[in-house]
């Protein structure tokens, strides 16, 4: 990751609003995501964080505003091409049950008509990267994997075509605490090696503090706080304090003395 990359704006959201029927899900969202950043959208269920992710991906059409991805506005992007430039990971994994792990990981490269040999090479590399030995796991089917392994495959699949932006919708929420911690650590180390921009949805404030370079707190479809984790700990809005109240005291002491870890 060069310094020029880290300043490049990958995603720019301007005055975005979204509604379903009469209900406003998102209002006046303004947000920039730069290369190498991990922006975590934090909020309660129903705050609009997943909707925001789906707007970015073109799965939901916004009611107003603009989303610029790699300098091109959402109106100019063909939604299919746009989606292939963004890795997407969801809570349940969403792996194709009738495809092997290798085929799942190679999905976007295949859609993009890569050479079979290149796909195979890429799949091997990615499975290695997420800690699943390709020879052992490549031929398996998703039903033969544990929850944590499925999510690893999901992340490998999202990275397959080397997209500049990753969208992750509560990818670790359904995992047991130990596996979750393992995957969170893996996510951190992957981020330091691949250096992609990530937009990460969670309702878990610890996860946000651990993984984010910036935390975006959403409440009722509006951004309430945007702050780096160290500053987020000091945020004084009611919603931020409600989230922070859930942290254990000792965890907090540990992290206040070493902000940004």
């Amino acid at each position: 990751m060069t310094s020029a990359d880290s300043s490049a704006v990958v995603l720019e959201i301007r005055d975005l609003s979204c509604r379903i029927g009469e209900r406003w899900i998102l209002r006046d969202i303004n947000l920039e995501v730069r290369a190498g950043e991990a922006v975590v959208l934090l909020g309660r269920s129903g705050c609009g964080k997943t909707t925001l992710l789906k707007c970015v991906n073109g799965l939901i059409e916004p009611a107003g505003g603009e989303i610029r991805f790699q300098g091109k506005s959402d109106a100019e992007w063909d939604p299919i091409r746009l989606r292939r430039q963004m890795g997407y990971v969801i809570q349940e994994g969403g792996l194709f049950p009738h495809w092997t792990v290798s085929a799942n990981v190679g999905l976007v490269p295949k859609l993009e008509n890569w050479e079979p040999a290149a796909i195979e090479e890429r799949v091997r590399l990615l499975l290695d990267m997420v800690g699943l030995p390709p020879a052992e796991f490549g031929p398996r089917y998703p039903r033969q994997l544990s929850g944590g392994q499925k999510q690893r495959v999901g992340i490998a699949r999202a990275l397959a075509a080397d997209p500049p932006l990753l969208l992750l919708d509560e990818p670790f929420a359904a995992l047991d605490p130990i596996t979750r911690l393992e995957l969170q650590k893996q996510f951190l180390s992957l981020r330091s090696t691949v250096g992609k921009a990530a937009l990460f949805v969670t309702h878990d404030v610890r996860e946000a503090l651990m993984l984010a370079t910036r935390i975006v707190l959403l409440k009722d479809g509006v951004i309430e706080v945007i702050a780096e984790p160290a500053h987020f700990l000091a945020a004084r809005t009611e919603e931020a304090r409600a989230f922070l109240a859930g942290l254990d005291e000792d965890w907090r002491r540990q992290n206040e003395s070493a902000p940004g870890q």
């Binding site: 991906n57 799965l59 299919i80 091409r81 746009l82 989606r83 292939r84 997407y88 969801i90 809570q91 349940e92 994994g93 969403g94 792996l95 194709f96 049950p97 009738h98 999905l107 976007v108 859609l111 999901g154 699949r157 969208l167």
Partner: protein
Amino acid sequence: MNQRLASEIVSLSLEHLWLVLIAVGIAALLTVPAAIALTRRAGLRRWMLGFANVVQTIPSLALFGFLLPLPFIGGIGQHTAIIALCLYALLPILRNTLVGILGVDAAVRESAVAMGMTRNQVLWHVELPLAVPAILAGLRIATVATIGTATIAAAIGAGGLGVFIFRGIATVDTTTILAGAVPAAVMALAADEGLEWIEKRLSRA
């Protein structure tokens, strides 16, 4: 068992099987694509399922009777029987195809779309392969039911094993009735087992 009876059982069984295969085949060719189209149209889907449901409630003898006087599709013979059998096969195939496609895990469909698959790619590479076991189950139900219903086709001169049954009833001869009923039952069981075997093999792959 005399030679004549044995050879008649074989020829009527083949005729019966032929009726069933044609009827289920036509029903499948029409219904599976229709069901695929209907997965995207909730309103029309309700109407079509309603229609197939209503057809199912018509007693088979009555349906054969209704079709008889109709111009072009009616009349004595096999084609009228095939149309009626097709109509009965509609519901299980339609319903199972719909259930199979609409029942694909929402997370799987969502990630397929989110990863940049086109609508057709989602249909051909995700929805249909995952719906295959359900579609085959529908074909199986339709086939087994049609083997039974087809015995009544003899009433309108379509032949098949029903010929024995109606002849046996008319002459109050149990042996003749059984000469039609037993092969029909064996055929139904064999079809059930055979199609179940195929279903299992395909869903394991």
